[in-house]
Symmetry: C3
């Protein structure tokens, strides 16, 4: 199933961006054996931040869903680097840790984060089914609407 | 010590719920080898959410403790599924990642999250002693008072 | 490179504190094989909390950077306990999970958390380059300005 990740991306019309390494003393990913940790990804596209501010206030819940999906695209772009372009090496998406920029009253973080969860399963099928946490926060870097990090098991 | 987890639960009068799988593209747990990641659990009991709102405002700190304990019960219920009912396979609770719904001024997240930490040690003894993070947040899914996820090492 | 961690600390004039175990049912670190999880560390120095309140309001961004650095010092102090004093056993800092106490408008969490990231690389060189997440929060334990937890790969 996960062997067709590249085909799935093509069918979906998603072109993975070429990740830019952070200009700081951290890196986009690390690993302990086959377990890889991918740094928190933000909804950046072509160097722009289309989704900023609080979900439910500054952007709609549907926009929040798209922001989460964009975080997931950037996560998969990092997996693609790890895999040297062979996404069939992704054995299991272990965990998404998702933070939704929102006001005190907001309670639909799960619906927002589904934008990332749905994407993972669309791309990887069973291997994309992950555990996750989805919580709210009052503030995120660059005022983005969603940030998501990831643990993933990748074969040698 | 951890072989008596079932006995400990009985002595405590805790009946583990039968977890309901999320209706979404994520799953309650995943694993990379013996390391299992359990999705963020909320204080749900019999399909109800007895603890909602901010700890210290809408619910008391003692209620927050009970909410954290209820999250931990739901985490152990997931472990029980992983183990096929044999909780003696739980080798070590590795980490609890805890989020407490609270106002800006609130500073007693550790006391709240102790509700989960105490439960883990009551059930598993030494194997239940875990690392943890305990932070505040301005908003959680369904407006629950606490959300906790878990990493746990489970033997084959 | 990481063999000189002790020398690097000396050059930097950093003396690692002797960690005090938490008075609760959690522990400073756990492990699943060579992967260690270190509990969320706060900016405590000599039993005092020099950085409390919101970064950008109660303390400056530069103070936030120092608070993050202090969290990192306390993380490395835990690694030192794990390693029995031989920090050369640290193979790779896998992940820092960082929470910055801030107001809604604050967007410079990355600059704050660089205080921890810079420290890890100053101490461990390449082995200190880690993945990370950096998010805001409205409240932290004891009202500290930053809390950071850590995953680290340590050789037997």
């Amino acid at each position: 199933m996960s062997n067709s990740a590249k085909e799935n991306l093509e069918k979906m019309g998603v072109e993975l961006p070429t990740p830019v390494a952070p200009v700081a003393n951290y890196v986009p990913f690390t690993n302990s054996g086959n377990l890889y940790s991918i740094s928190g990804q933000i909804p950046m596209k072509d160097g722009q931040l289309p989704y900023t501010g609080k979900v439910g206030v500054d952007v709609s819940e549907e926009d929040g869903y798209q922001a989460a999906r964009l975080c997931a695209i950037n996560i998969v772009a990092q997996m693609n680097v790890i895999c040297g372009g062979d996404l069939g090496r992704v054995r299991k998406v272990i965990k998404l840790g998702a933070f939704v920029n929102c006001d005190n009253g907001f309670a639909n973080q799960p619906e927002v984060v589904n934008g990332a969860s749905d994407f993972m399963v669309e791309v990887f099928g069973e291997a994309g089914k992950h555990s996750r946490s989805a919580v709210g926060t009052n503030a995120l870097p660059r005022n983005v609407s969603v940030e998501i990090d990831c643990l993933v098991d990748i074969a040698d």
